[in-house]
Structures are given as C-alpha cells and as structure tokens.
Symmetry: C3
Subunit: 145 residues, 3 copies
C-alpha cells in the first residue's frame, strides 16, 4: 500500500531534514557552540517568544548559545533537545519550511530529569554546499502566551 | 550494510505512516478538529481504556475531540501529542497495523510542562484516495490497569 | 532540494536502524526479555555509568533485564524507553556506530507518568543473518556525573 502522492524527492528531503536536526541538536547539547551556529546561515535569524527580540546573524546566535551553555555548566545541568512530529514543506523558491515540536529535557546532577519546556519550532531551511542551513527559526514556548 | 530482508515498499510505507502521524498530531493539537477527524474513516472507531466504550464514526470522534479542545482552552492548557517507537505491519488484506508509544505533554499558562499520560497506541490504517485513514485506534494508558 | 552528499545506502541504513530500535524498545518494555536479549550478539556487552561494571554476554544481559522486569512488575510500574535524535555512522569495518538520546518514562498504577531518567545511548551494531544486533552498548545517564 504505497501512496501515489508521495514523491520520492519529498521523502528523501524529509529524511535528510530529520537527520540534520538530530545532528544539530546533539551539537548544541554537547556544547559544540560554533559547530552548532554553523548550521545557521551567516545572516540567520533566531526568534522566540521567550526573547525580547530576534537574535540576528551567526555570530550573535553563537554568542547567545555560548552564554546559555556556560550557565548550564555553572548550574551543573545537562540539557537535551528532543524534536518530533516533524512536517516538511518544500517551497517553490527552493527553501524548505518545517514545523515540529521540541522538548527540552533538563537534568541536574543527581536528578531528577524533567520536561523543562515544551515548544513548537518553525524553520526556514536553505541548501548551501550540500547541506542544510537554518535561515530563520521561530521557537514558541507553550508556557508563554 | 544494507539488510536484504528490507523491502523498499515496506520502508516507504513506514515513512509515509510516520509522516501521516506527524500531520495528524499537529492537527489535533492545533485544535483543527474537523481536519483531524478527517484522518479517520467515516466508520472509524476510537477505543481507549480510559473510555467506558469506544467512540464510533467520524462525526462522534470529531465531537469528542471538540469537547476536549474546548475544555483545554477553558483551562488554558496547551497539549502536545508525541508519538514514537513506531512499528508498522502491512497485512495481506491491504490494511496496515501499527503500534507506537504516545505521550501527552501538557503545559498550563506559565508552566511547568509535564508528561500528562504515557500510552500505547495501536491502529489499523487503510488507504483511501491516496492518503491513509485510521479505521481503528486503541489507546491504552499506562496508568490505568 | 535533494542533497548530493546523501548516499541512498546510508539513508536506507539509517531507517533500518531506526526501525530496529523501535522493535527493540517495544520488546524490552513488553517484558519479552529473551527476544530482547536476542537483539544483542552472543558476546554482546552492555555498559552503563549506572553499573559498577559492564554486563557481558547475551545470557547475562537477559538475566539482568529479567530481574529489572520482575522488579517493575512487583512495583506495578510500566516503563517505556523512548529513543530520539539518532545519528548513524557506518564504519569501514562494516559495523555501525550510533548515538542517540534515550528517555525512560515511568508510570506507576494510577499515575502520574514522569521522566525517570534521561540518557545518551551509544551502540556498535553488526549485521547477522539479515538483521542488526548490538555488539556494544554504552548508556550514560545524565544525572550521574
């Protein structure tokens, strides 16, 4: 029972996006801030309803992440980003719109682990040099209305 | 190292099912009740160990979902359904049996988020007009024995 | 927008690994200890920062799992293993290195469910008789430093 509507190209794109995100989340949670920031375009924008204004540019995105990683290290908290329920929407202009859920699982030394925040993550991805990059990210925390 | 037992058709089916579920969960959590109910067959059945009896028919499934969405809105709770650990079993009659885990992540205004329930979801899917539809769903909550 | 770097063989391997893990987790959580242990090689090793030393050999791995399943039954706790953010690294020697996050969701009778532990799981997989087997597993709990 294979669905005729399913284009192979779209299926491949979907899975490449899934794998891109797995790598991207591992980089951030491992504290590999520069490599993680390298998954955004040079002019990438990271917006969130938890921020007063969007963070613009790879360097600023890296800087914000570095501060967050340093604070977690100081508090001895391990953070894990989980993405799921991903939908992928390739657009006529060659970009890819994505929407998924993202959880942050937080674990202090000695535990217990907990769901720190539940969010929706909406990206615009572009292809550069054979890999994806995030040009725009918008993260909406479920607890902030 | 590619496994000979893996039929391409089965792999495609698996991923189409994954993507079907991602869309289906987003629709429900966005409160798009009619579109969500449209992912069940007209005679679809939704059974759960939390219900006194199964809900039968797309209209009744939509109605039950509408009530739940309204109650969440009243309580200002955002709900996210996460599916994972999916196994897919295409059957000789053309239907597809699936089994997966499902979490409901619940977030009141101001937080904190928490795992509201952990469940196992077992579906019978059918193909109609180039898309999947749920003909039977059975949700078993882990807290109810 | 399909990435040229993406070899089809690698994509197939990735998805076969995903599905292997879904089956493997369901087996363990269903208490099918022997079938679960059968997803390790005869000389498989299960190491964890929560264990004083690695558990070696399929029989010992089965035995440890059997004890854990019995204890959960006694406490009337349902346990679900969730894997996510999987990266897959096929190696020149034919083995596959994997890294993913793993959550244990724990639910006592009557609830509530909670994230019992958050971990990172690193495996070395081998192919035998048309299926994957775990030759080495290393589980690192985020709460134990």
């Amino acid at each position: 029972m294979t669905l005729p509507l399913e284009a192979t190209g779209t299926a491949e794109t979907y899975h490449q996006v899934e794998r891109f995100y797995a790598r991207q989340m591992q980089l951030l949670d491992d504290g590999a801030v520069d490599k993680w920031a390298g998954t955004f375009t040079e002019d990438g924008v990271f917006a969130a309803n938890a921020y007063p204004e969007p963070v613009s540019g790879r360097a600023s995105i890296a800087s914000a992440a570095r501060s967050a990683v340093a604070e977690l290290a100081r508090k001895k908290i391990v953070r894990r980003h989980w993405l799921g329920m991903l939908t992928v929407d390739p657009r006529p202009d060659g970009t890819i719109g994505t929407r998924c859920y993202a959880l942050v699982i937080s674990t202090p030394e000695g535990g217990p682990s907990s769901v720190q925040v539940s969010t929706v993550c909406e990206d615009v991805l572009v292809s550069e040099d054979g890999d994806y990059l995030v040009r725009e990210r918008r993260v909406t925390r479920d607890d902030i209305r």
